[in-house]
């Protein structure tokens, strides 16, 4: 039996006081957390649940002038892991939850039973991790990976023409698929690497899944937190190597240019951007504006719902070109056939509207299939990179060659405009001319001999006016108008030659809307002193006026100079893109012909040069008779440009002929119709030989197709 209760008012008071105090402390803390720090925690909770998803805009389609699709987007499916959403390794338990999750994923993919899938996984992880990490990770997992050497076919130029070499390349021997433990270890390593950076970014592990395969995996995804099926558009170029140099290709933002892209508002370093061709030039317009949405995710990273109004992506503008794919195809086929026939390592054909500068076709050989870039950088890419013909270069704008006799358009125009000759001036070709030595003018032994091509054939052309000289491509005539002859004739000379060369657009970029264009400085006295520490000689002027010597130009520059003659004196900026069209079909931008300069020459005098080009095609003895096209009058000028490609191995110029003479590039420039030019053309074959024999037939085939098949 217990005793009477000890009811002490003081004890009760203390108990109530204690209770109240603790209650108030808890409420105060609650107030602090919910009201004072509430907004902070609210944003932390939002950061937990809200995830920003970038919605990539569909990239603009590229059309040719008639609406034929040249570049489009094809959906492609891939599998990616979001490291953040993978279960973390719970340190309280002996098992590694992350490793378990990865294993589960691999089992679900049937990586243990599907050797093809295991192979593909192995390859993509090899590319992701690199060789060292790949090997070490596998070694830690107790798997020795052997490497095998495969021979990647690479073509190399030799004097005897391109020879295909087998270049040994080391790749991991994945002929037997990696066991599950190996794949697990690699995947774990990949996730680990990525977790150190931005763990929210998906790590792609499988690409180019079939649609059905992707859907099957997507259905199982509820079991697999942190695994996503990504739908990514892949750029597709239906015409492959036929227009690859013009279109270019896409690739991830180059590491070196990252900050430049960031300034332009690119946030995802893995975004595919145009790296070459029109894809590069019109990158921002084709790309459009990415949209974004916020989704609510649960703790496993699964999307629960979309929050708020998504910002829809603005599709990129479609791009319409002046290029006609049918003409391009004709140009490609004709050029490729001829290049193969004469063993030309590279060759170029460009067609342009001489009135506007709009490019109608542009082929550079060798071509490459730009679709291989969309499929990730693999063996095919390596082969391209190592091909010594360097197919990635667009030689139409990236190759510098002596223009040869096609340059006579410039010398003739200059001589007429500067009054060195009149249309009626007659110069007689009596055979080679001997230019007296500057310092010993009376010693014939020291004189320099200049021949015209016809002298080698034992022909002299006799008296010639400028039209005759162009028709026959006589060199003597042009030597003399370029350099004159001591005590007999005043030529253009170094200064005026250089001036007119520049006026025609040589020495500067044409400004075409393609990246990678080059230009060589116009040689003159100053240039020669700086480069060679020698002064300019009359002989240099001789050589320059027939397009030899120090002058180098791209095929496009040569075409621009041709168009300037054809259109009556306008040096135009060539352009491929004609219109940008938005998703509603509205034209948002239209190219205007850009005249860079008007040549200071009267239409009458320029008409004489045109007449010379007409004669070369249409008069007996013309060098380009073979380019006549039924139903239309063609005007043209051939070129056979001697060149020396210095080969340090043989310490001599490559491609020498059997007699030891220097080899030739084959050139031909033409336009038609003569009366009202619609198309100007340049054909160039590296080491092709005689312009009239090699380049002219190619041009004939192109012009014939253009006027008799393609033109409406």
């Amino acid at each position: 039996m217990s005793l009477q209760a000890r009811h002490s008012p003081r004890t009760s008071f203390l108990l109530y006081l204690g209770l109240t105090t603790v209650f108030l402390v808890l409420v105060a803390r609650l107030y602090q957390l919910q009201v004072v720090q509430g907004p902070t925690f609210r944003s932390a909770a939002n950061a937990n649940r809200l995830r920003r998803i970038d919605l990539p805009p569909p990239r603009g389609v590229i059309y040719d002038s008639r609406g034929e699709i040249l570049a489009r987007n094809r959906p492609s499916f891939g599998l990616a892991i979001v490291p953040e959403d993978l279960p973390a390794d719970d340190l309280d338990t002996p098992v590694d939850e992350r490793a378990l999750a990865i294993r589960k994923l691999l089992l679900l993919l049937q990586a243990d039973r599907d050797p093809e899938l295991a192979l593909e996984l192995g390859e993509s992880l090899f590319l992701f991790l690199g060789r060292t990490d790949f090997t070490q990770t596998l070694r830690r997992a107790g798997i020795e990976v052997t490497f095998r050497v495969v021979n990647v076919s690479v073509a190399e130029d030799t004097p005897e023409g391109p020879v295909v070499h087998e270049v040994p390349t080391i790749i991991p021997d994945l002929s037997r698929p990696l066991p599950l433990t190996g794949l697990s270890a690699l995947l774990y390593r990949a996730v680990e690497l990525k977790s150190q950076g931005s763990a929210l970014e998906p790590v792609p592990i499988l690409e180019r899944l079939e649609r059905e395969q992707a859907f099957a995996i997507a259905e199982e995804l509820y079991q697999l937190p942190g695994v996503q099926v990504l739908e990514e558009p892949v750029r597709e170029y239906p015409y492959q190597e036929m227009v690859s140099h013009v279109l270019g290709f896409l690739g991830p933002i180059p590491a070196g240019a990252l900050s430049l892209y960031q300034e332009r508002g690119y946030t995802d370093i893995n975004e595919q951007v145009g790296l070459n061709g029109l894809e590069f030039t019109y990158q921002d317009a084709l790309r459009g504006q990415p949209g974004r949405k916020f989704v609510e995710v649960d703790i496993l990273g699964r999307e629960v719902r979309t929050v708020g109004q998504p910002v829809e992506p603005v599709p990129g503008f479609n791009l319409r070109l002046s290029l006609d794919i049918r003409l391009q195809e004709v140009m490609y086929q004709a050029l490729a056939r001829k290049a193969e026939e004469v063993n030309a390592p590279n060759a170029v054909a460009i067609a342009m509207d001489p009135q506007t500068g709009a490019i109608l076709g542009m082929v550079s050989l060798p071509g490459f299939d730009n679709n291989i870039f969309s499929e990730g950088i693999g063996e095919e890419y390596l082969a391209l990179e190592q091909d010594e013909r360097r197919p990635l270069i667009n030689y139409a704008i990236g190759g510098l060659y002596p223009p040869g006799s096609t340059f006579k358009l410039v010398s003739a125009t200059a001589a007429l405009a500067e009054g060195v000759i009149t249309p009626f001036t007659v110069i007689v070709d009596n055979g080679p001319i001997y230019l007296p030595n500057r310092f010993f003018p009376d010693d014939p032994e020291q004189a320099q001999k200049f021949v015209s091509w016809n002298h080698k054939l034992g022909i002299v052309h006799g008296p010639l006016n400028v039209v005759d000289a162009m028709r026959l491509s006589n060199d003597i005539f042009f030597y003399l108008i370029g350099g004159g002859f001591p005590n007999q004739m005043q030529g253009l000379g170094e200064e005026r030659l250089a001036k007119w060369t520049r006026l025609f657009g040589f020495g500067e970029l044409t400004g075409i809307d393609l990246p990678g264009e080059v230009a060589a400085p116009v040689p003159d006295d100053q240039w020669k002193r700086q480069r060679l520490a020698e002064s300019w000689t009359t002989g240099d002027s001789y050589n320059m006026s027939i397009g030899q010597g120090y002058l180098l130009a791209t095929p496009l520059q040569v075409l621009v100079s041709t168009a300037a003659v054809a259109n009556g004196g306008q040096v135009l900026q060539p352009r491929l893109a004609q219109e940008l069209i938005d998703a509603e079909g509205q034209v948002v931008w239209r190219a205007e012909p850009t005249v860079i300069r008007e040549l200071p020459v009267s239409p009458e005098l320029l008409g004489v040069v045109q007449r010379g080009m007409w004669a070369a095609v249409n008069e007996p003895g013309g060098t380009a008779i073979a380019s006549q096209v039924e139903g239309v009058t063609v005007a043209g000028k051939t070129g056979t440009a001697e060149f020396c490609e210095w080969d340090p191995e043989i310490e001599d110029c490559a491609y020498r002929t059997e007699e030891g003479n220097l080899p030739f590039h084959a050139w031909y420039v033409a336009y038609a119709p003569y009366e009202d030019p619609e198309i100007a053309l340049v054909v160039f074959l590296y080491n092709g030989g005689e312009g009239s024999a090699v380049a002219v037939p190619v041009a004939q085939e192109i012009l014939d197709a253009y006027f008799n098949r393609l033109r409406p």
């Binding site: 609650l30 957390l33 649940r49 649960d298």
Partner: protein, 367 residues
């Protein structure tokens, strides 16, 4: 001086407050498990436990608490024996701490029922020797009887339960009318023992304390503590609304239906609602203190205060843990957290207090 049971004195206010808390608890469990398929029926189970617990409450209330005096010593003895048994042949139920006894059908954790054995036994001892407590030997006797099970629980190891026992026992000894110098002496002894205890703290205990002191030191382990704070803060003044707490519904908060139910309440009901719930909890405890004040004898007073101490301690530690004021211990929030045995035993403890208040009138005269 026999007391008569009288249902007129049954504390209906207390019952209403307790049932209200249980009702809020079930609603919040519903919300916490609403989109978790394998937990979705937990609110129904809790409803059934509430029914069982209420029956238990009335049964206990109907029984004269003074009969428990007879049970005090055997219950204590049985408790000690079960702890020894756990020490010798217990199972760790795959958790690393040996706390369970395998009795064939299921495993039991003796420390749960032990709380009540300890309350009843200490109340009996302290009321039986009420007159002698000013003598240090009797006081030390009480301390010894408390420390005996404490040590056995501590070595299991179960730090949370050890501290719970210490708190309940301490409160009971303090309210039994010890002198100030005696309190000082006990406190001094406790402090002197601390350095020895520190060495025996298990790794996991230290880890928990470290995380409590610096949550960023181990982000993985303190994940839930941080998520609880975010949940509470996310509630703001008015809360996100029932079934609408994002932290809760999207499962950023773990063990949300039991240990962290308070965070669910805070997120969905906000500062206003949560303060009301807290007030209700403290009202229940204060009501128990009021019953103790009116108890007819010291035994009744002490067991009621023991129940109040238990309720108070679990409330303070659980709420403190949710709000980052106390380390994470697996302590549930009375009446609100999911859990059958916890709810039923808490309701029966309230029944015990009802039994005391129903018999608080001594019959000085017969009518």
């Amino acid at each position: 001086m026999p007391a008569r049971s009288d249902w007129r004195y049954f504390d209906r206010t207390l019952l209403i407050a307790v049932v209200a808390l249980c009702g809020i608890g079930i609603a919040m469990i519903y919300s916490a498990t609403a989109n978790t398929v394998d937990l979705a029926d937990y609110w129904q189970r809790q409803l059934i436990f509430l029914g069982i617990g209420l029956v238990g409450l009335f049964v206990v209330a109907a029984i004269d608490y003074r009969h428990l005096e007879l049970l005090a010593q055997p219950a204590y003895l049985a408790f000690l024996l079960s702890l020894v048994a756990v020490f010798l042949v217990g199972t760790d139920n795959n958790t690393g701490a040996r706390r369970w006894l395998d009795i064939g059908i299921t495993v039991v954790q003796p420390t749960e029922a032990g709380k009540f054995a300890l309350i009843i036994f200490l109340s009996w001892y302290l009321s039986r020797f009420q007159e002698h407590l000013h003598r240090i030997s009797y006081l030390l006797g009480a301390v010894f009887l408390l420390v005996l099970p404490l040590v056995l629980v501590y070595v299991q190891p179960d730090l949370g339960m050890t501290i719970t026992y210490l708190f309940i026992g301490g409160v009971l000894i303090l309210v039994s009318g010890v002198r100030l110098w005696q309190v000082a002496l006990l406190g001094g002894m406790g402090l002197a023992a601390l350095p020895f205890l520190w060495g025996t703290l298990q790794g996991y205990m230290l880890e928990r304390i470290r995380i409590f002191l610096d949550p960023q030191s181990n982000p993985d382990a303190s994940f839930n503590v941080i998520q609880a704070l975010i949940s509470i803060g996310n509630g703001g003044l008015w809360g996100m609304g029932w079934l609408n707490g994002s932290q809760n519904q999207l499962h950023f908060l773990r063990v949300r239906h039991s240990d962290f139910i308070f965070s669910v309440i805070a997120e969905e009901l906000g500062f206003v609602g949560t303060t009301l719930v807290l007030a209700l909890l403290f009202f229940v405890i204060a009501r128990l203190v009021r019953i103790a004040d009116r108890a007819q004898d010291e035994f009744g007073r002490l067991i009621t205060l023991g129940v109040a101490a238990l309720l108070f301690f679990q409330t303070a530690i659980n709420v403190g843990m949710n709000m980052g004021l106390a380390p994470v211990t697996g302590m549930t929030l009375p009446f609100l957290s999911y859990g059958g045995s916890s709810l039923v035993s808490m309701l029966m403890a309230v029944g015990l207090a009802q039994s005391v208040i129903m018999r608080h009138r001594t019959i000085d005269f017969l009518t």
